[in-house]
Symmetry: none
Subunit: 192 residues, 4 copies
DNA sequence: CATGAATGAGCGTTCATTCAT
DNA sequence: AATGAATGAACGCTCATTCAT
């Protein structure tokens, strides 16, 4: 495999487990089996390498999410699909999930970050998607009359933390996804 | 105020906003208005200072939780009280909440950490408390028949992430606590 | 002697002989008999150390020049005094002369440099001083009718290059100052 | 044009503007539109490339100087011719003039440098040439009785610094050459 | 209690150079 | 003739920690 791929591989692993500041360029290079300057041959620097990995991960994740936003027999089915998309991504890219949902480095708080844009894009996509679901479901009599923005936030929170848990620790309690879907269903769907 | 308190104050603020690795001993000392070696006079080092702050915070938090574990008219009331205890702690110690629930420094993953013990103690306390609640509630007919360990994990997850959100960003969406309690109530309580 | 002074001493020596880019912080520290981080304890960095030395040198030099700008029996006496001021400075601070007049690092070309301001200040002072001398001398019949701005530039050039030569190589040809003064006198003064 | 010429062109430009240490092999290669290893195909290394450029420049310069050393009606005419040779070279090869007369890299101080030999050869040629001029002129009554070696050094100094000034900054003050020639003439020639 | 001064170890980064192709 | 990939060595700088006072 190419050196660049090795570097990405090594960096993803280390960033996910030790964080950005906690991983050194020397460690990354050594883990990749090359010397430090190779990082600077393939990337502009440590930060660029980090951004590259995150951007790639976000792209793949957004592609997965796109498949969620389609018609379904009920509104709750759509929410269920969202759970599945997250679980799918965790399964395929556990390390990247840690990076996206996990302990985001304090740096990402700065608005000028490229990565920050992806975070915001994800948040607003989720918000719009779930808001539409809930409103339609309530109007159509499928859902109970729940406060929309707060419930949206709750569902996002549950999905993301669940995915993060799974990415970091693995499936410690089996059947979490089904339980979470059930938990939400009981809380939302009328005839249940 | 004493120097030690100034140091704790400054360190708590910096650790909460910049993270452990992102805060330097020089910054901490300067913010506290003293010189660096004072850190080593009062504590064994940067790490010890961090541990001290976290341990103190945990103690206060555990004291708050103890008040939750008393009799209540219904099992769900107990869960509601747990929500309130978390919100109370966030209100009183927002910085410490960030430290306890927020992006925990990767170092804390090491099992030998003193802090890790507190995390585990909190987890197991919550698990035991909620497990008892749920089982009693189900047996007594108050709750629907939900899968206990998974639901326990879900409630913990919701409470903690909610508290963390509030500590980090403030009450961005008003009425989140009530919405969360309602969300859980609908999902759990039979006659609702 | 204090560490800061040792660092200044070592840095002045190295900067003068090897240039800014050619001197490393490690060399400077070792020559001063301390470790590298001491540079960063006493100065903001390598660049700041350089600026400090140059600024100090310029101050001393300007003080010397101030003594030149006084009344004298003839205009040429003033020019002679300027030669002497330069030679005095070379004798007292040979290394600093090398820095001020010698191979200025390419960086100093940037207008935003603090040092650049000193260079410009020196240039304009010399220009004004000599322009006044020459004009007065010509008007008063002491000097021949020479083209003023060009002759000013020539005298500056001679003085500075001579001083630089002396700072870098020492007095290789004896009696250079007297010869230079004579050279200019023959060229400028009428009754000679 | 061949790759080697492109490299020389690019390197001359960069060395002249940024200095030897300030120019990197990557920059040189990129400016030349080739890759770094080409430098090592055509030259022994960065240093060799520098030496090559300087040596070439010196050769051309020496050729120009040879034309100066011929008979002329007066000794001062010869000196005037020397001024013209320098100005001719500046006009034809401004970048190389910067390299030869400009802030010579500190490395060139080492005696073992190939370039150093050229510098010395130039110096001694100038010294011999001007010494002969002055002695003849004094003996023949054309020149005033000036101290020879010092005056030689002064004339060299004036010519070289003037040429350097022109190469680095352009003709900032017009008529400098004429003024310089006039300055020397008044100082040297008796019937003037 | 408190500090100014000092340091070992390490970090991200750059650079001239080399090598396999 | 030319290049992509790779590296050893060094550089400017930071940081947690220590020590003499």
């Amino acid at each position: 495999m190419g050196t660049k791929e090795d570097l990405i591989e090594a960096a993803a692993e280390l960033f996910a487990t030790r964080g950005f500041e906690g991983s050194t360029t020397l460690e990354i290079a050594r883990t990749a089996g090359v010397t430090e300057p190779m990082i600077y041959y393939h990337f502009k620097g440590k930060h660029d390498l980090f951004t590259y990995i995150l951007t790639e991960a976000f792209e793949e994740f957004f592609a997965l999410l796109k498949a969620v936003d389609v018609d379904a027999s009920t509104e709750f089915k759509k929410i269920e699909k969202l759970f599945e998309a997250y679980y799918e991504f965790v399964a395929r890219r556990p390390r990247e999930t840690s990076l996206i949902l996990g302990c985001c480095p304090p740096k990402l708080k700065d608005a000028q970050e490229t990565c920050r844009q992806n975070f915001d894009r994800l948040s607003s996509w989720l918000e719009k998607f779930l808001t539409r679901c809930l409103k339609k479901g309530i109007r159509g009599g499928e859902f109970k009359k729940v406060p929309v923005p707060q419930t949206v936030n709750l569902i996002v929170l549950i999905i993301q933390t669940l995915a993060r848990q799974r990415a970091l620790d693995g499936e410690t309690i089996p059947g979490m996804k089904e339980a979470a879907v059930g938990f939400c269903k009981r809380s939302l769907v009328k005839s249940f």
